[in-house]
């Protein structure tokens, strides 16, 4: 069953023009969580970070867990979409934008944590290298400063990567509306007319961004992992962390993408666009990442155990059979034992199946980050100063707020921008149905003449 181009436009623009009462209810609920998180942060800023559960020697816990978790989720988008674009995977077309949006929002949320976790968050701007009367630069040897640059580069890059392919869609909205909407979308579409020259430039820009964003994405999570690997802390100081974190990030990113797509499919009635085949393909990717994740964990754990270094073994045993063992084995279940059979058996790799597997993975990957940070910090070298950690309501409220915030941003975005790239879908449709004989000569030529014709 193929839809006509006009039908596609109508279907995908519907969320922009029709808003049900249910949407406002959802926004209000999510907004309440965000406000609660913000209030908790204000309370923390006013009272002192002591309202968190962190204590010596566990100086990082939920804060940095959430930081790494959200930065990991952000790898859903840009990286997956860039790889699929470069690999010219045709099934990517309805998926790319949902994925790229996750990146921008998850990255913004993740990047918040290094600021709100500071003892004195109002001084966070000291990380910016600017000419000041004190004549002090940030310390470029510190992995936190590397983080600052890596995350900002990635944020700028992924915003560009997201917005470039939106321009023709914004122009489409502009042409379909009147009044204030026309003015707003007119500004956003940057004078897009769909001329051959503009199409050609857009293609070039997207191609450059797709190539450039991959090393940036890989470097971001590598540098995040180096926040840990650079410090001489048992089970942190490891060369495996860079690739381990990148693989984990893509793993959790794909899972988040599957969940987001399932929600969009249901809530925005996109059943004809986000089809079982998309969930099946992403499910296979998730399966591969699950195996890769298991390989990394196994390699990390085996080398530590075989090396039998006393300070590392203290951390090792506390996660394998000590206080953190329940969390560890839950993680193994969520990240491997649960998703592996679901995703490996074709009959189970349905939409519901992949969503269940993905929920496991998102939870498991959150636990993984927690288990990297807290057991190591609480079992450093000197047994006299071993410690423990328990979160307080402030940390939990802030964390819940970030999940609600992510959903809220996503909901609002889907009201302002077609969540599925309309023009890319049409290009794919044209290609497949062979409407134009020169389709084989390449996308650039095809898209050149396409848009004006479809506008009518």
């Amino acid at each position: 069953m193929e839809k006509s181009p006009n039908q596609i436009t109508e279907d995908l623009l519907r969320p922009l023009f029709q808003t049900s009462g249910r949407f406002f209810a959802v926004v209000a609920i999510l907004g309440a969580f965000v406000v609660a998180a913000f209030s908790a942060f204000m309370y923390q800023g006013y009272t002192g970070i002591g309202v968190w559960g962190i204590r010596r020697p566990v100086f990082w816990a939920f804060d940095i867990t959430n930081f790494v978790f959200w930065i990991g989720i952000s790898h859903a988008g840009t990286l997956i979409s860039a790889i699929l674009r470069l690999a010219n995977a045709t099934w990517r077309r309805p998926v790319t934008r949902c994925a790229e949006v996750i990146t921008v929002f998850a990255l913004s949320i993740g990047a918040m944590f290094p600021i709100i976790h500071l003892g004195r968050p109002w001084l966070a701007f000291w990380l910016i290298p600017y000419a000041s009367e004190r004549q002090i630069w940030p310390n470029f040897r510190s992995p936190l400063v590397w983080d600052f640059f890596a995350i900002n580069t990635y944020l700028i890059g992924s915003v560009a990567f997201l917005t470039l392919p939106i321009i023709p869609d914004w122009a489409l909205v502009r042409d379909k509306t009147s009044g204030w909407r026309k003015r707003v979308y007119g500004i956003l579409s940057l004078g897009w007319r769909g001329t051959p020259k503009q199409w050609s430039r857009l293609e070039t820009a997207m191609h450059i961004m797709a190539i450039a964003i991959i090393p940036v994405a890989v470097s971001v999570h590598t540098i995040v992992s180096w926040d840990f690997a650079m410090a001489p802390v048992p089970m942190w100081h490891s060369t495996i962390f860079g690739p381990y974190f990148v693989a984990g990030a893509i793993f959790s990113g794909i899972a988040a993408l599957i969940i987001a797509m399932a929600c969009l499919r249901k809530l925005l009635h996109l059943e004809d666009y986000l089809k079982p085949v998309h969930f099946d393909s992403l499910g296979k990717l998730l399966l591969m990442m699950s195996l890769l994740w298991f390989y990394f964990v196994f390699a990390e754990r085996l080398t530590v155990w075989y090396g039998n270094e006393p300070s590392e073994m203290a951390v090792f045993w506390t996660t394998q059979q000590g206080a953190y063992a329940p969390l560890f084995w839950t993680m193994v279940f969520c990240n491997f034992l649960l998703p592996f059979p679901i995703l490996a058996i074709k009959r189970l790799r349905t939409i519901a199946g992949t969503v269940i597997a993905s929920m496991g993975v998102v939870m498991g990957m959150w636990l993984e980050r927690f288990l990297i940070i807290v057991p190591s910090l609480s079992h450093k070298y000197v047994p006299y100063s071993w410690g423990t950690y328990r979160p307080t309501w402030v940390e939990i409220t802030i964390m819940t707020g970030t999940f609600a915030g992510m959903a809220l941003l996503y909901a609002l975005f889907s009201k302002a921008v077609p969540i599925i790239s309309i023009w890319e879908l049409k290009v794919g449709f044209q290609k497949k149905s062979g409407v134009r004989s020169q389709a084989a000569t390449g996308q650039r030529e095809l898209t050149t003449g396409l848009e004006p014709k479809l506008e009518t």
Partner: protein
């Protein structure tokens, strides 16, 4: 005037002499305006003792022995806490101390995570001194606000004070001129402070002992605190 050799401040801790009285802990609190955090916070693990006496128990009841190890910032020459600070709040001074600029600290707590000895302390709340305790604050030491990391400074204010006094008297700093609060208050004189670059100093003499060892030396942090191994237990029946 010929250039003076750079100082290398160091402390020797004689474990044979330490009896775990914790006078050093009290002296350190008084000297350095270290806040007391209260029972509840201390139970959580937020007590701030720049100087602590770690206790290790050995043997089975009733034949139990207690080992005391006074532990404070090891002032490492290759300190893991320093490079990780994004704002240079923790930095290396010319005299080999691990400096901590409170005003520069934004509270990432990365330094405390990187410290293998867990000897850095964080102000989770603004410190409070109930009246009349506020009158005993040492005017030579700044009081730290919420969100700032702090740790043993080798009583840098006393080092500077002794240098100024020596300059006023137009003389060189002598061995023993500088006494950190802990060393000054140690009844059995288990703590000795001085310049390791001066071969004639008491610290240098003790550091040459074959009992000399350093805490977690294998990590390569090159601490400036030298421990003299406890040998007295080895007399008698234990070999």
């Amino acid at each position: 005037m010929e250039p003076k050799p750079q100082k290398k401040w160091a402390m020797v801790v004689d474990l044979d002499r330490c009896m775990g009285c914790e006078a050093c802990v009290v002296a350190c609190h008084a000297e350095n305006n270290i806040p007391t955090v209260g029972e509840e916070q201390a139970a959580m693990g937020r007590a701030m003792h720049w100087m602590r006496v770690e206790r290790y128990y050995e043997g089975e009841f009733p034949d139990v022995r207690v080992k005391f190890i006074p532990v404070f910032c090891q002032q490492c020459a290759a300190a893991p806490c320093e490079p990780v600070c994004p704002t240079y709040a923790s930095y290396h001074t010319a005299e080999g101390l691990n400096g901590q600029v409170y005003n520069r600290c934004i509270g990432t707590r990365y330094c405390a995570n990187a410290c293998p000895y867990n000897l850095r302390f964080f102000n989770f709340y603004n410190p409070v001194w109930e009246k009349p305790l506020h009158l005993q604050l040492n005017p030579d030491v700044s009081v730290r606000e919420v969100g700032v990391m702090e740790k043993c400074t080798f009583c840098v204010q006393r080092i500077k004070g002794a240098e100024i006094a020596a300059r006023a008297e137009k003389r060189e700093l002598k061995d023993g001129d500088v006494q950190p609060a802990c060393a000054q208050s140690c009844p059995p004189k288990a703590l000795v402070f001085g310049d390791l670059n001066d071969p004639k100093s008491e610290v240098s003499r003790l550091a040459r002992s074959n009992r000399a060892t350093r805490l977690l030396e294998e990590l390569g942090t090159k601490p400036s605190v030298i421990y003299l191994r406890r040998e007295s237990w080895n007399d008698g029946k234990e070999s």
